[in-house]
């Protein structure tokens, strides 16, 4: 029984020590500020404005993509450029057997 009491005493001592620990005096302020931040009702106008900005951004990115694609189409290599390139090409006729015969 005496031994049993000893164990209980040790347990009680540990618990008593933990019970003496006090929380941060600013804990309630911390809690309230957290609640205030979380609870701040998002203004409906702000919410719709945000939604609008996001939608507009997506539309703008899509439009830019299409425009860039079109720019590429419009700047095709024209015939003159092709001719110039052709003139610089090696004449393949030399390599054709038919030309030496």
């Amino acid at each position: 029984m005496i031994l049993k009491m000893k164990t209980e005493d040790v347990i009680d001592k540990v618990i008593e020590k933990e019970k003496q620990v006090e929380s941060n005096p600013f804990l309630s302020t911390r809690i309230m500020s957290k609640i205030a931040t979380e609870n701040a009702p998002l203004n409906k106008r702000v919410y719709f404005f945000r939604l609008l900005v996001v939608a507009a951004s997506i539309a703008l990115v899509m439009r830019m993509g299409v425009s860039i694609g079109k720019i590429y189409d419009e700047h095709r290599i024209d015939r003159m450029a092709l001719n110039i390139n052709d003139s610089q090409m090696e004449n393949l006729i030399y390599y054709m057997d038919a030309a030496y015969e």
Binding site: K17, K19, S28, N39
Partner: protein, 183 residues
């Protein structure tokens, strides 16, 4: 101002009235959390989580029970979830602390060893409490850390007083068994 009036105030939009509730019950929530996590920082985190949850679900509080009973239930559930979530982290912290304690043995070896022994004993008690089955642990923490009566514990745990008594007896027997090395 009574708690019912405070709750009505908060629900009608006066958020600052919640601070009165926090100030009234913060100590008890913190103490209960300490019983589950044995660490000041973790207990503070749990206290914060409990009050945020209570604030969010205040409209669901039906006043069938005392506000404190309702808050105790949230505290117990939050603490148990916290413990389950942070098992690995706790293990790493304990290992680190053990190493630190071993490395810090100073030239005054006798005192250092006594301190080490005392720390080890405290750790064993905490581990023994932590390893109790969930219901036994809850009943034990509420009884020992918050000095609640069996009636109050029964209300919080939604069980009969007899069941609480049994849980407490089993918890004590389990602790005796686990801590037999201390004798």
């Amino acid at each position: 101002m009574s708690e019912q009036q405070l709750i009505k105030e908060i629900l009608s939009g006066n958020t600052s009235a919640f601070k009165i509730l926090v100030d009234r019950h913060q100590g008890m929530v913190f103490r209960t959390a300490m019983g589950f996590v044995h660490s000041k920082e973790d207990a503070e985190d749990i206290t914060q989580e409990v009050f945020i949850q209570a604030f969010r679900s205040l409209s669901a509080f039906q006043e069938k029970s005392e506000f404190s009973t309702w808050l105790y239930r949230i505290t117990v559930n939050t603490s148990i979830n916290f413990v389950n979530r942070n098992k690995l982290r706790r293990l790493l912290i304990d290992t680190g602390e053990n190493l630190k304690a071993l490395l810090n043995i100073s030239s005054d070896e006798k005192n250092a060893h006594q301190r080490l022994e005392s720390d080890e004993r405290n750790k064993m008690v905490r581990n023994a409490i932590d390893n109790l089955p969930e219901k036994q642990r809850t009943a034990f923490v509420l009884s020992k850390y918050d000095d609640l009566s069996q009636r109050e514990i029964a209300d919080i745990m939604k069980i009969s007083e007899g069941a609480v008594e049994q849980l407490l007896q089993r918890a004590k027997a389990n602790l005796q068994k686990k801590l037999s090395r201390l004798q």
